[in-house]
Symmetry: C3
Subunit: 332 residues, 3 copies
């Protein structure tokens, strides 16, 4: 497929330098682009690639207008990465062939589910009774939406997603576990995207809630009664235990964990793999990861770590012995 530069400008705006009739046959990074492809420079760190790229045209910020225009066609946009995102959408739209049926005949839809006529339900999905699927929402293949769960408009659910399995709730009973039936459901807002094989459990007494614009990657686990605020993004394999409340505009790194019954305010950023064990009431960037090392060094440090509080005692004793008073007054 092909697009002329002028067609891109007509659709998305931006300031074109060069011939609008130039035909683009694909998108690529500066490094990989061929002379028929469109590229972009968003991170100034890569500006020297402007000189070497073979791209037919480069999307750049105003500060790189001259450098880009001197080497060939360019599109100047305030935010080149955002502009690039919109070009990918344009490209996708131009690619799409005749779509299949709105509800694939292999999907199993309960007669008491409500599916917006503009929604698309892919092959081998299951939508149970009382569930609602909003306008323009797409369920790719093999998605399960449980009883009474609600999905908003313009959502995308990737293959294998499970919405509304039972939350993990049991009361101890003489050494065994008594099931606590999960009587509530899942409510998902608009413009939410949910990655492959991700699971969002139904609430015990109140719905699990995913607010508008949330983006969840693959293989994520969201426990019952959790609430995730608007436009929070969570990378692959993250896990949120039951009844945690996460604010808006947070980013949760891949494989990060959040214990149950915690509160995380807006604009909190958790590094990959870290475990959040207490509420976070101040925006910021938080981390808890054992640093990687070659195995032999790690073994020595890990062994010492098991003595760390004893080392602290010994240090204190030494300070005291040294001159009758701590050398360093802080942290005693």
């Amino acid at each position: 497929m092909q697009l002329q530069l002028q067609a891109i400008i007509d659709a998305l705006g931006g300031e074109l330098h060069g011939d609008g009739r130039l035909t683009i046959e694909g998108l690529a990074s500066l490094e990989a682009a061929s002379p028929r492809q469109l590229s972009f420079l968003s991170n100034p760190r890569y500006q020297q690639q402007l000189g070497s790229t073979q791209a037919a045209c480069v999307i750049v910020a105003p500060q790189f207008r001259d450098a880009a225009a001197s080497r060939g066609a360019c599109i100047v946009a305030a935010d080149p990465y955002l502009y690039f995102a919109k070009v990918t959408q344009l490209w996708r739209k131009a690619q799409v062939v005749v779509p299949g049926p709105a509800i694939h005949p292999s999907a199993v839809i309960d007669p008491d589910a409500v599916i917006d006529p503009t929604a698309r339900i892919g092959p081998l999905c299951v939508v149970e009774r009382g569930a609602r699927i909003g306008a323009h929402t797409v369920l790719k293949s093999r998605v399960s939406v449980g009883e009474h769960c609600v999905i908003g408009d313009r959502c995308i659910l990737h293959p294998g997603v499970v919405i509304g399995a039972d939350g993990f709730g049991f009361a101890p009973n003489a050494g065994a576990w008594e099931k606590i039936e999960q009587l509530a459901a899942v409510t998902i807002g608009n413009d939410v995207e949910i990655g492959a094989n991700t699971c969002i459990d139904r609430g015990a007494l109140q719905d699990t809630v995913i607010e508008d614009g949330v983006k969840l990657d693959n293989l994520i686990q969201i426990g019952h009664n959790v609430r995730i605020g608007k436009h929070t993004a969570m990378a692959g394999c993250a896990a949120v235990a039951g009844s945690a409340t996460i604010g808006a505009h947070c980013t949760i790194g891949g494989r990060a964990g959040i214990l149950g019954h915690l509160t995380i305010v807006d604009n909190v950023h958790i590094s990959a793999t870290s475990l959040v064990t207490r509420s976070i009431l101040k925006p910021g960037h938080y981390t808890g990861v054992f640093p990687l090392d070659d195995n032999a060094t790690w073994e020595k440090n890990a062994a010492s770590l098991k003595q760390l509080y004893k080392m602290r005692e010994r240090l204190k004793a030494l300070e005291k012995a040294h001159d009758g008073a701590p050398v360093n007054k802080s942290e005693q």
Copy 2:
């Protein structure tokens, strides 16, 4: 839906204070309950909420009988949380509408599988030849049960569960990997619940075994030849490597990992995210998690951690230099 308090007492016992004809329209926490809802107090930490809750009736332990009765209807039970669990079950039972067919027509069942007539197989499940599904067991939608795997009675398998995929076994062969065929199966006891998208691999030579009453949350990985003892519960995203043996009545926190070929005795509790790297032969509570901190502080501590064994050497040298003898005799 509605239930009268007397109907609850008739079904579950307990000591009612107040009018048995009072109609309950739902269950909720003390904080969230409306005047038509039933709530419970199980953790004494929340006892002051007894005064402020709007709940129609509260389930309490004997010690809170007077406090609860003075504010309205209450049910006194020895274990309020367990009583509450049973009320959720009663509620679920009262809710259930006419059930669908025992085996959904979209499920793919091998003619050589044996399915108890009281079991229920949901939409788009796959049950392979030689598999057995016990009495009153429920496979929700999109569950796969592989060849010769056996599921006991009264189990619940949530959507996306995979029982009996091949264990991960390969022999190195001149830089490549030679597959070790996984010739055994999976045996699951009675009253086991398995969360969405959880995987339990078939054994190489002996079955992978999940004993009675085990509860597994979502997205858990159980490797081949593993054995999990009775009534052990495992939270979301936990992973158990091949040939590990886990005792009865253990709790394994979310995202915890257990290496292969280990033994963990009964009544062991592993904190979320921790990795078990050696056998645990003593009941107790075990943890191994890097504590979360703001990122800047974490960076400084993580950098120091990479010098920890050198710090230990320096500390020892300093102690020796100080007075010719260690200041602290322990741990030299």
Copy 3:
């Protein structure tokens, strides 16, 4: 089922000591083997089990020929574990009953997908338009292969695998997220095995690539644009973030994580649970895991860890104060 020892020798070679007409009814470990079963000794650590095993026949290395032959039948092979792997394959082959149809009628195959006539597509799989499935490749039940994704020859994809869901790509846009359409696909080489519920995302601009002979366990997440080199093996629940490049012949432990845009060279081994946060340019074994301890000890050490860089400062001050010069000249 049964196999005579001579049939095994005829198929796989090896040096037989004992009666070739001896009938084997199964395979088992030395410890568990009954007198009708075949076993193997690959790890010399278990050589004393040679004396006590009841196995009908044991596969051993040349160094154990005499010890094994003195107790009964044995097969001598250069690499007993590899020989055993091949016996499991022989066993599987002998077991297989009449296979079902090449493409199960419940699978949903786009008319524009290309499926080799020798491939087998199991129940309830989805293969989208433009996808290609190579010769002798097997998709077990409930596998999704997205548009234009290519799977090589002799691959095995276990239930619930998702190939070609969208990579996780968004550009920030005034507090919300703008989707970056994922325009490339996934290319998988020959002899690749992919475990249950594992996800491999499609590339944004270039394909995600899994090279020949790679083995992935269950519940693994492979982000967009990742490349994994030949014969690398990855254990369950590992996760690789976008645009990472992993070399050939690596082993990645269970639950290990690899951040995005990194390079890992050939022959790197990452311990279970470790997080790789920087490129690894030297072959070797790398680890970063907080050691497990009883919870009380862990709490004390974790608390001290939060003071570690201050402890380092105090140690330095003490060294300086001691005699005007560091006691230990290294690492100042």
